[in-house]
Each structure stands twice: as C-alpha cells, then as structure tokens.
C-alpha cells in the first residue's frame, strides 16, 4: 500500500509557466498560474486538519451558524480568544476559550447558552482550534 499518494502535496509552489512556442506567443502566457486551490490557502497543516459540521446557534455572535462547515487544526495550541472544539463529558462542543479573573472558561457566543467552567466537569479536553468556518448562502 502506498501511503504517500498523489493527494498529499504539501508544499506546492504556485507556478508561473514559462513556455517556448513556435508561433506567435500568447501575451497571457507569462501570467498563467495554476487555479486557486482553497486547500492550499485555508489549510497549512493538512495532516492535523479535520472538518466538522455545526448544528445549532450557540456561536451565532461569532458568525458561526447552523449547518456551517468548520475547519479545525488539531496541531495548534489553544489560546484565550480562540474558538475551539472541546470534548466535554463525551460530547464535542464548540466554544470560545476565554479568561476571566485568571480562570479559563468556555464561552458560548449566544446569551441563551451558559458558559462552561472547567472545574464543574470531570472530563474536559481541548480537541482542536477552529481556523475557519464556511457558510453557504444557498
């Protein structure tokens, strides 16, 4: 089995194609670039990046809406202010990692939802840091 298959291009460098042609050269040739690949622009650590789907409106004030696709990088260390995915008592949850009175807590971006304080829960683990959310307008 080949694990390093063709879709593991890590550091792809945008290409300016320089070509030699016999006829009249196209004036656009020097500007030819590859298509924009969102993977390249949105994902810097492909091997630790995962996709998740949001359900509900607990993060609405942060611009994350129901059904949005979110991109999570597990390699990043969460810092206060980051939106993160945490595992709390056996469930995935999305919250903003916040700090108040020297205490870290997880804040919902919707007044209707309570904050999570770490000390009230036995089993909390930060799973990854949200780097993008993608919302469909259709």
């Amino acid at each position: 089995m080949n694990f390093f298959d063709s879709n593991t291009k890590i550091f792809k460098i945008p290409l300016l194609v320089d070509s030699v042609s016999a006829g009249f050269p196209s004036p656009a040739d020097d500007y030819t670039e590859e298509n924009i690949d969102l993977n390249e622009h949105l994902i810097s650590n492909p091997f630790s990046t995962f996709f998740l789907r949001v359900k509900g409106d607990s993060m609405i004030n942060a611009g994350i809406k129901d059904k949005d696709l979110i991109i999570v990088d597990k390699s990043l260390t969460a810092r206060p202010g980051n939106i993160i995915i945490a595992m709390i008592d056996g469930e995935f949850t999305i919250k903003r990692l916040s700090i108040k009175n020297n205490e870290l807590y997880l804040k919902a971006e919707n007044h209707n939802y309570p904050d999570f304080r770490f000390k009230n829960h036995i089993d909390v683990q930060i799973w990854g840091v949200v780097i993008y959310s993608i919302h469909s307008y259709l």
Binding site: F3, L52, K55, L69, G90, F92
Partner: protein, 428 residues
C-alpha cells in the same frame, strides 16, 4: 558494548491503532472499552486499553462474547478502513518531518532513522514526538529506539511492557541491557518464526540475551546468513537498512468473505466482478498491468465439507482495462463454481504485473492502437470521476444490486475524515 555510530533507529508504533482512531474522532468512545471486529464482523481484532483491562481477548469470535460485551457496556465497531487508512497516512506524513528516513512497515508502524546528538539522550526528542503526534491526531504512540531495526523492535516491546517507560525505551542507551534482553522471549524477536523459535528452545535458548550470546557457528549451520545477521543486529551492528520505497508489487489481490454463504453462480460472478473492478482500478493507480488473471473461491474453514477452487488465464498482452478483465473473470467464475458447496470467500488476483508506461511502447498487440487509446481514456475518465465524486459514481452494471454476498458491517462508524457527508456534527 556500545556502538560508536551516532545514528539510531526508532520503531514508532501506534497503540491500539484502530480503537484509537475511533476514540479520537468520537468523544463518546473516549475512556470507554472499545473493540473492533474483523471483516464481516467475525472476530475481535483490536481493543482499547479499557477493553484490555476487562480481559477481553484478541481473536475471540464475536458471537461467543456478544452477551458479555453487552453486559460490560463495551462499544463494538466494524472495522472502518477508510478512517484507519486516512489516519495512517496522516501519521506517516507527520513522522516524515521528524526523521531522516522512514520505512512504513505496516498501517500503524514505521521505522525511522534519526541522528543521535552529542548528549546521546533521545528521551526528550521521543517525548516531544509522542506529545506532538497525540496533539495532532489524538493517537498515542510507542517509541522504541535502538542501534538497528531488530533492537528498535525489542525496545518498542520493552516500552510497552515496562510500567515506568511512559511509552519510550532506548535500548542503545541503557545500563542494564542484559536484564532487559532477558525479558524478551525468542519468539518475540523480530524475524524469528515459529520453527526457528522451536529449534532455539530445543537448544535451551529462551530469550534475546541467550540468542545474542549463542555460539555463532551453530546459528550459521542451522539458519545460515539470515541467522547470523539476526545475531549481529542483536549485538548492535546495523545489517538491515531502512527501506524507504518498497519494491514494486508482485501481485494485487482483492478478496472478501461473504456476509452469507454463496450458493448461486450469479452471486459468485457478481462478487468476483466487484473485486475485479477494484483490482483493475488499483492497477491503474499504480501504473501496473497484469498478464495473468486468477480467481478463487472457497468454503468456510470450519465447514465439514471443505472445498477450494481457483482458475486463471494467461494473456498475450498485459492489461489494466476493466472491460477486458471483467470478461475473463466472468468466464473463470463459471469454471470454479460448484453448486454443491456453500462458498464463504472469493477473490481475484492480478499476477505477472508489469509497468504500464513501459508496456505502451510495445507495438505487437491484439487490439489496434486506436482501440487501446480509447479504452485507456475511458478508464482514466471513470477513475477521475470516481475520485472526484464518490467511489461508485460510475460502475459496471454487473455489480448493481449487490445482495446477500456483501460483507456484514453492522457496526460501522462514519468515514469521519474522508467523506464530507459523514463528518462529525457538533450540537450546540
């Protein structure tokens, strides 16, 4: 005895890989006993540490422990190879960044070569690697370090078995080497098979230390150069290199057990055709063509009437064309079918593989160049459509409506990392 070389080899092994993959992607499985079943939901092939603690054994047939697992509230899952394959690819690529050379040894194991800096202490590096892989993937790994592959394998075993090791052991940097080698039985040494192990034990050689110190001539007489190399590696010499690229494949096999036994020719043909399509696709992805196509079918190993048949066809010209291969496979399936038996497994083998780029130069072919080009284009189009949309966006009519012979996968988790329709949902 210490080797002066500054290089070291580490064997990286993901712990309880299949169960760890499921636990990292599904928070409900964290810290819970989890078992993974083999193809067809037959036997237990992986256990989370929590399931191990409950003394659930590897290889136990599921039906025998079904009730007990239920009572113990153990999560039972079918094997999800699209998830494990993707996590493996991620793991291996991450490891690549932390070593000089890598040899992927299996889905969850890799040998890597690293250089030992002046202070000789690789524990900080290994601790860092472990926490990095855990943070990136949520998968725990064990790091065994030695001067060579055989000793790295032993070190990995020690790292797993010694309580205070924290998943890391460096056999090239320890004061009590003899004590540690004594803990490894000869049958646990990499490269020692059952027969060799029996012979060694008959000679009174029980563990790695005794094998290392055994009379060299006696080993050579019985095991030849292979045995000598093994002993040299045990002593700390480097004999087996890291093989970064695997030699080209000798054959491609696609075979599966049936969900329920197959007794009709129609079902056998359909199953073999499905496997043949997969095998041809695989050949094309590896730029290979086959000139010897084999199919086989057999009854269950446990059935009273055991029966096994295979048939093959040699071709004048190698091919990777699904249409041509399907024609042959359909014919061959008639040859091996026997209505008196209940078949439990069948498969296809593509043998005599050659590189297709090289082959296209050949002028002599029973098909015209134009025809060949046309079929190659068609296959390329189908492959790219299936890659872009989903595995079976375009397939052959013969595989439509697969029925009873399909494998049982009653407890399959989602393709959480590879299919956008199946990614996990976060509620609230």
């Amino acid at each position: 005895m210490k080797i002066s070389s500054i290089d070291a080899i580490a064997l990286i092994d993901a712990n309880n890989f299949y169960a760890s993959c499921e636990q990292t992607i599904n928070p409900q499985l964290r810290n819970k006993p989890v078992v993974i079943l083999s193809n067809n939901d037959g036997c237990i092939i992986a256990r989370s540490p929590e399931a191990r603690a409950l003394k659930i054994k590897m290889g136990t047939p599921y039906f025998k422990v079904k009730e007990r697992l239920n009572k113990l509230d153990v999560a039972v899952l079918s094997s999800n190879y699209s998830l494990y394959g993707d996590m493996s690819r991620r793991l291996m690529n991450l490891l690549k960044n932390y070593c000089e050379q890598i040899e992927i040894y299996s889905i969850d194991e890799a040998f890597i070569s690293i250089s030992r800096s002046n202070d000789k202490n690789l524990y900080p590096w290994a601790r860092n690697l472990r926490s990095l892989i855990y943070q990136n993937l949520g998968i725990p790994i064990t790091v065994g370090i030695g001067e060579n592959k055989v000793r790295a394998k032993i070190a990995n075993k020690l790292a797993k078995n010694i309580d205070y090791s924290a998943g890391i052991f460096d056999l090239a940097n320890t004061r009590n080497e003899n004590n540690y080698l004594k803990k490894i039985n000869v049958d646990e040494i990499w490269g020692v098979g059952k027969q060799t192990s029996n012979w060694l034990q008959s000679k009174g050689i029980k563990n790695a230390r005794e094998l290392r110190d055994m009379e060299e001539n006696e080993i050579i007489k019985k095991l030849g150069i292979v045995g000598k190399r093994l002993q040299l590696e045990l002593k700390g010499h480097k004999c087996l290199p890291i093989e970064e690229s695997k030699k080209s494949k000798k054959e491609i096999q696609v075979s599966r057990s049936f969900g329920t036994p197959v007794t009709k020719l129609e079902d056998l043909t359909q199953a073999l055709a499905t496997h043949a399509i997969k095998a041809s696709e695989k050949m094309r992805s590896l730029n290979l063509q086959s000139s010897d196509i084999r199919v086989f079918a057999r009854t269950s190993r446990y059935s009273s009437q055991s029966y096994q048949r295979s048939a093959h066809r040699k071709l004048t010209n190698a091919t990777d064309d699904t249409n041509s291969i399907l024609k042959i496979v359909v014919e061959l399936s008639k040859e091996i079918f026997n209505p008196e038996y209940k078949f439990s497994k069948a498969g296809v083998l593509m043998q005599d593989l050659t590189n297709s780029e090289y082959l296209q130069q050949s002028v002599i072919n029973y098909k015209s160049q134009k025809e060949l080009k046309k079929s190659a284009n068609l296959m390329r189009t189908i492959d790219s459509l299936n890659r872009r949309f989903n595995k079976n966006a375009i397939t052959w009519a013969i595989t439509k409506n697969p029925k009873s012979w399909m494998m049982n996968k009653n407890f399959l988790s989602h393709s959480s990392t590879t299919d956008i329709k199946q990614i996990p949902t976060i509620v609230k």
